[in-house]
């Protein structure tokens, strides 16, 4: 990674991950500075999505191990513990509106993924 890569990344970047370290539709946990983790997914179309890794029901850091797929075309991940399905775009649980995952902003530049929490995303994800 070069200095210019870092400049391209958003100012509040929480973590940087090479895309090449991810396998398609097999999530990975990314350790964040505060000791929590994000679940990062490389989708079949080449896009990258990231959500909070903690399962809201069990409080266990496992969302990255869930099965990735789609519901009517929207990318989803199913919790490996309770099988609740979450939309990877909004973080909303499709079965229980009281649950949702945090959605991270994802920027990919020169094969490196950077995660950040930006805009009003946090409020939206946690309504």
């Amino acid at each position: 990674m070069t200095i210019s890569d870092l400049r391209q990344a958003p100012a509040r970047a929480l973590a940087l991950v090479p895309v090449a370290d991810l396998a398609t539709e097999q999530g990975a946990a990314v350790l964040l500075a505060d000791g929590t983790s994000a679940a990062v997914f490389l989708l079949h179309d080449g896009s990258v999505r990231a959500v909070s890794n903690l399962d809201p029901l069990y409080g266990a850091p496992v969302i990255c191990h869930g099965i990735v797929g789609d519901r009517s075309g929207s990318p989803t991940v199913a919790s490996p513990l309770g099988k609740q399905v979450f939309c990877l775009r909004t973080g909303h649980c499709l079965e229980d509106p009281r649950m949702s995952l945090l959605v991270f902003d994802v920027h990919v530049h020169d094969g490196v993924i950077s995660l950040s929490t930006g805009g009003n995303n946090r409020e939206t994800a946690c309504r």
Binding site: Q26, L57, G59, H65, G69, R71
Partner: protein, 823 residues
């Protein structure tokens, strides 16, 4: 059963809660299916006989009998608690067995056949008995004979009439039936009166019976099945009028002719001068009385005494005017000594209308013929008696809407079609729920399926929104096309990127078909469900459990020591599992390879506790050590567990082997259970524990070891190929057309000619099996999947915390995260 039905019907329709219902049950258990009583000896357990529980609106008092009835004060005195007042009283006291007053009829060793307690008593006596005599060759008598046979007691049936089942069938049918049951080891004595029960002069116990012609039959058990009498003592002593042969006299509303506040239903009632000893008219009375109590105007619709049953595996059916008693009735008879079946149709004098019939040996056309009673014959009678394949073709469409399809619950074709047309039901379970059709004897279920098909209802078998086909079809697609990846399968035979339903199903199919491919390689890694994904069982705090294979539960002290050392080193919680192995819990993802390196070095391999796959084959110690054992159950269990290890299947698979009939391995609670006999092995299939426990049923008896393994190979492969996703073997067999009999035809008699292919597929699996944990340890790309963080591979997740309970590490209580607090 009739009282239960009444309580169900009344509470279901009593919207305004006008009645508080109290049910007194003399037996200490809730109502059960007496019609299926003998199935207890044939694999069913008591739970399977239990009728659906009555709702909270019913106060069910078990083990409480009604002692006296005071009609003037409207009070019932019971065996416990204060007297009960009533507004309306329903007598559903049923009947009691008639025991002819021959000398010796009350000696120890004499039984009746009515309740589960009677069965228990017979079971105990059978342990020391060689032969048993059943007095009465009717329906109940033959059931009792079958029970004795299943208890390995030679049954004799003594019948007063000239042939068996004289109420339902004629002499021709009776003669064939006698021949068929004699082949099964039942000794039939017809036209024979029992003059006394012989007893041992020393012990006083039953030693045999003597017949009128002087014949003596030695036996240690006598079962009376010579008919029943209504239990009307309570009614009689309260001054209620009873019929000439007993039974509370009631009108067509089922109301006592003596007291308008008292009702009687079922075998306790005498209606139109008749006491009906069958459950169907009893149910009709229950519905009638319930309707009347709620202000309706129902009257008893009359009884259809048609019956279809399987007695000792022999089909017997009788319907309509079976004996041809209508004036001018003609009979067309087909006797087929080759197929060993007998059929008779009774038709009107002009041969246009069907009046009734009898079928013995093959009753497959019963479902089509019975509803035709009273209707114009759709074809010439002889062709209707021809084998089922042609007979059925005249079938369903020819029936009028008024024809009864389910005679147990009096459901007509019209009612069923209406339920389908209105969208109330689009499946057999749906029809069962909204019309009750098929919930009695179940003989009309195939007709329900045909009715749905001919009404154009396609039952959806789609796996999920990504695949329109069923799992079994997807399996065949994978076999035929040789496709080995999800993307190609979805693009050519489905749509989208899949989900947590179809992806594990595809993963399982590919794993069953290609044992040699590692389940974590390439695209397949993304299909694996929670546990398969890291070859370990994910626990509630995100850690994993590790279960090494311990075949048959046999383990050396040295290996036990290794498990103990690994558990100590990695601070794992240990627990003995139900499958005779050891569970090591609390491993972090990144610890799994190191743990498995220690285990594989010591000779352990994956136990597949994480997979929908063969888990364990549990065993008892067998004849190596046990005083009672008759075969080497441990040796067989180990051989089977090693043979089928790694076999991926639609759901988990468990096996068990017991070395004698004491069944210490609990083999009959497994998908396949094997119990040793003096002559070999008995194979049981379709058992499971869990949410709905089931006992496995006997598939084949007294098998040699090699034949047993051959049939097991076929059984498991047939299950792998044709079951639905997450369908255990019990549900798979139940859903099969023809059930266990069909399964036996396919995998024992090879009627479909597929057994060779099934055996080859299993041989391929066995050849290609490799321990998948060892294969992970040997491959850096696979090992990389066990990183805790992609940006910090060896760092333990700081959010996973433990506490200590009873000297072991357990997950720290988790902070509730629901609902998630806004930042």
């Amino acid at each position: 059963m009739v009282g239960h039905r009444f309580a169900e019907a009344l509470t279901a329709r009593d919207d305004g809660r006008r009645f508080a219902v109290t049910v007194l049950s003399e037996e200490p258990r809730a109502a059960y299916d007496r019609v299926a009583l003998s199935s207890v000896f044939d694999g069913a357990d008591e739970a399977a006989l239990r009728l659906p529980a009555l709702g909270p609106a019913v106060d069910l008092r078990l083990g409480v009998s009604a002692l006296t009835l005071d009609r003037a004060r409207q009070v019932v005195v019971t065996s416990s608690g204060p007297p009960l007042e009533y507004d309306e009283l329903v007598l559903a006291t049923g009947s009691c067995p008639f025991v002819p007053p021959v000398p010796g009829h009350d000696a120890p060793g004499c039984f009746v056949y009515r309740t589960l307690d009677d069965l228990d008593a017979i079971r105990i006596a059978a342990a020391d008995a060689r032969a048993g005599v059943v007095i009465g060759g009717g329906l109940l008598g033959l059931e009792a004979a079958n029970a004795l046979r299943l208890l390995r007691v030679t049954p004799h049936v003594v019948e007063l009439a000239a042939h068996l089942m004289s109420v339902q069938i004629d002499e021709g049918g009776g003669a064939l039936l006698a021949g068929l049951v004699e082949d099964l080891g039942v000794r039939v004595h017809t036209g024979a009166a029992t003059t006394s029960v012989l007893t041992d002069p020393v012990s006083g116990r039953v030693s045999g019976v003597e017949l009128a012609d002087g014949t003596r039959i030695p036996a240690e058990i006598v079962v009376f099945a010579a008919g029943v009498r209504p239990r009307d003592q309570l009614a009689r002593s309260a001054g209620l009028a009873v019929g000439p042969r007993g039974g509370v006299l009631v009108d067509r509303a089922c109301r006592s002719v003596t007291d308008s506040k008292v009702w009687a239903i079922g075998e306790a009632a005498c209606l139109d001068g008749q006491v009906y000893g069958l459950v169907t008219p009893g149910y009709a009375m229950a519905e009638t009385a319930a309707d009347r109590l709620l202000g309706g105007q129902a009257t008893f619709p009359g009884a259809d005494l048609s019956t279809k049953l399987k007695l000792l595996g022999v089909d017997v059916a009788s319907f309509g005017d079976a004996h041809g008693r209508s004036p001018g009735a003609l009979s067309v008879v087909l006797k087929d000594p080759v197929r060993r079946c007998y059929g008779k149709l009774v038709v009107s004098d002009d041969a246009t209308t069907l009046l009734g019939g009898i079928l013995v040996g093959d009753a497959s056309s019963y479902a089509m013929l019975r509803p035709l009673v009273g209707a114009t014959l759709p074809a010439d009678p002889a062709s209707l008696l021809a084998p089922a394949s042609t007979g059925a073709a005249h079938g369903l469409d020819a029936l009028p809407d008024g024809a009864q399809i389910c005679s147990c619950n009096a459901v007509t074709k019209g009612r069923l079609l209406a339920a389908v047309a209105s969208g109330e039901a689009d499946s057999v379970p749906g029809l069962k729920a909204c019309t009750r059709a098929g919930t009695g004897c179940g003989s009309c279920v195939p007709t329900l399926k045909q009715l749905l098909a001919s009404a154009g209802v396609a039952t959806s078998k789609a796996l999920c929104e990504h695949f329109d086909v069923s799992r079994a079809e997807l399996f065949e697609i994978a076999v035929a096309t040789g496709i080995r990846g999800f993307t190609e399968l979805a693009e050519r035979h489905g749509r989208g990127r899949g989900c947590d339903i179809c992806k594990p199903a595809v993963a399982s199919i590919l794993a069953s078909l290609h044992t040699g491919d590692h389940i974590l390689d390439g695209e397949r890694g993304a299909l694996q469900d929670t546990n398969d994904r890291h070859l370990a069982n994910m626990q509630r705090n995100g850690t994993y459990s590790v279960v090494p294979r311990i075949p048959g539960g046999e383990i050396t002290p040295a290996k036990l020591l290794v498990i103990a050392q690994v558990a100590e080193e990695f601070k794992l919680y240990t627990k003995i599992t139900g499958g005779q192995r050891i569970d090591l819990l609390g491993a972090r993802l990144e610890q799994l390879p190191a743990i498995w390196r220690r285990l594989t070095d010591a000779g352990f391999e994956s136990g597949h506790a994480y997979g929908k796959a063969l888990r364990t084959v549990k065993s008892c110690v067998g004849d190596t050590w046990c005083r009672y054992g008759v075969q080497d159950s441990v040796g067989l269990a180990i051989e089977l567990e090693l043979r089928y290890r790694g076999l991926r299947s639609p759901h988990k698979l468990k096996g068990g082997v017991s070395g004698c009939a004491r069944e210490c391995a609990e083999a009959r609670s497994k998908d396949f259970g094997i119990i040793a006999t003096e002559a070999g092995w008995n194979l049981y299939v379709g058992g499971n524990g869990g949410f709905r426990p089931r006992h496995a049923e006997l598939l084949v008896q007294d098998l040699s070891r090699s034949r047993l393994i051959q049939i097991l190979d076929r059984f498991l492969m047939f299950y792998v190929r044709t079951a639905d996703r997450l369908q255990r073997t019990a549900a798979w067999i139940e859903a099969m057309d023809g059930g266990l009999d069909h399964l036996r035809d396919v995998i024992v008699a090879d009627t479909l000619g597929i057994c060779g292919a099934l055996e080859e597929a299993m041989a391929r699996h066995i050849d290609c099996y490799r321990d998948e944990w060892r294969a992970v340890l040997e491959d850096p790309a696979r090992l990389a999947k066990f990183a805790s963080f992609v940006n910090a591979p060896g760092t333990p997740d700081p959010s996973i915390e433990f506490t200590v309970e009873r000297d072991q590490r357990v997950p720290a209580p988790h902070r509730p995260l629901l609902p998630l607090e806004p930042a």
